[in-house]
Symmetry: C2
Subunit: 232 residues, 2 copies
């Protein structure tokens, strides 16, 4: 059996099961046995086991002989795994995750901006500038502007030179995608170009403290905005 859309069958099952797990679909019933899963999806046991193994590699489930497979408690999930993060986003989101994202960004991004100012990786800094320029160029087109906004913030992670910061890219990306859904509800809101530019200028000058501060300012403003929107 061939899955839709070019993805392999195992990856299709991975995505399907992953989403089901994060939406709590198996909370009451428990995770099905291999045989049940095969029957439900019309796949062979081998390929189903591959999907199950991938899920267990991401911490979502664990299997033991005779006992079956069960969904792990959320605290064992690899929340920073790009796939897990995406599945979490694809379900109807709660206000809580909004706040959690904002808190993470507030920890990560100013630090990354500070490191970028110290490291002075010209090539990476050029990437930040490109993001800013795209934000300016596409100010009228929400979709493109959002992508440019994301590119800008992600470029800062990259410019930090620390691969661990860089790996938080999916989290930042999702956070921005989410927050735009919220801010778009407020009429006429758009990203503050000048505030973004302030980060870039500080990084280019090599002023780490100013870069941290400028990044923090944007994020606090955004947090403020989120809280106001949620109060309504």
């Amino acid at each position: 059996m061939r899955s839709e859309l070019g993805v392999s069958l195992a990856y299709g099952l991975l995505a399907s099961l992953g989403q089901s797990i994060v939406t709590g679909e198996f909370e009451k019933t428990g995770f099905p046995t291999e045989a049940e899963l095969c029957a439900r999806f019309g796949a062979s046991r081998t390929v189903m086991r591959e999907a199950v193994k991938m899920l267990s590699a991401k911490g979502l489930i664990s299997s033991r002989q005779r006992q079956g497979t069960r969904v792990e408690p959320v605290e064992n999930w690899n929340l920073l795994d790009p796939d897990v993060l995406r599945w979490l986003m694809e379900r109807p989101y709660s206000n809580k995750i909004f706040l959690e994202f904002a808190q993470m960004r507030l920890a990560i991004e100013p630090a990354a901006a500070g490191l970028a100012a110290e490291l002075q990786d010209k090539r990476a800094i050029a990437g930040i500038r490109e993001g800013l320029q795209a934000m300016i160029d596409h100010a009228g087109q929400p979709d493109l502007a959002l992508q440019a906004d994301i590119d800008f913030h992600v470029a800062i992670l990259k410019a930090s030179g620390n691969p661990f910061f860089w790996r938080l890219k999916p989290l930042i990306t999702n956070a921005l995608h989410l927050s735009i859904q919220l801010t778009n509800k407020i009429s006429g809101h758009m990203a503050d170009i000048h505030a973004h530019e302030a980060i870039l200028i500080a990084i280019e000058k090599g002023d780490a403290a100013a870069a941290r501060k400028a990044s923090e300012d944007i994020l606090l403003e955004s947090l403020n905005f989120i809280e106001k929107a949620q109060a309504e």
Copy 2:
């Protein structure tokens, strides 16, 4: 064929291959084909494919029909995956990763301490206090003291109430394990109990700014220490 030590065969292969990948063992030769891997490890194709699928779930490799399996560039690895992190640690470490860990801790931990002060989760704060007490009790025993130190810092992540912070536990744990190897070389060095207590007190008082500051102080001191040690 049964693997050593009770772990299932697939997980044994996962660990073995994972380590080989992060140590760059396949850089020159390219990743072997399924058939070669089976021959080398004396395992069936099924179980080998399960291991390979888990590795690809962690971003370390990718497979395509006809083309074989290849190791992904490092930037695609899920560095924050606990397994990947552990494999990275099990290879001879470089000074670079030391610094990268310290940078991450400096971003994460003060933020977590600040959130913990705001949230006032009494139960979780009690966990921090237990860690501190264990540090005091086992001051003379390096192994136990290290574990207590780790427990203390990890408890702060938990007390932040943000599951994304909590998920960075493996990173903090590894960072502390690594840094103790370094600091132990310096005669008579031991964790500064008073500095740790300052974080706890600030959190208990609900003083987020002070908690952030106290956490930052410890980490900067530790960073300082690392730089001094590396200079030698």
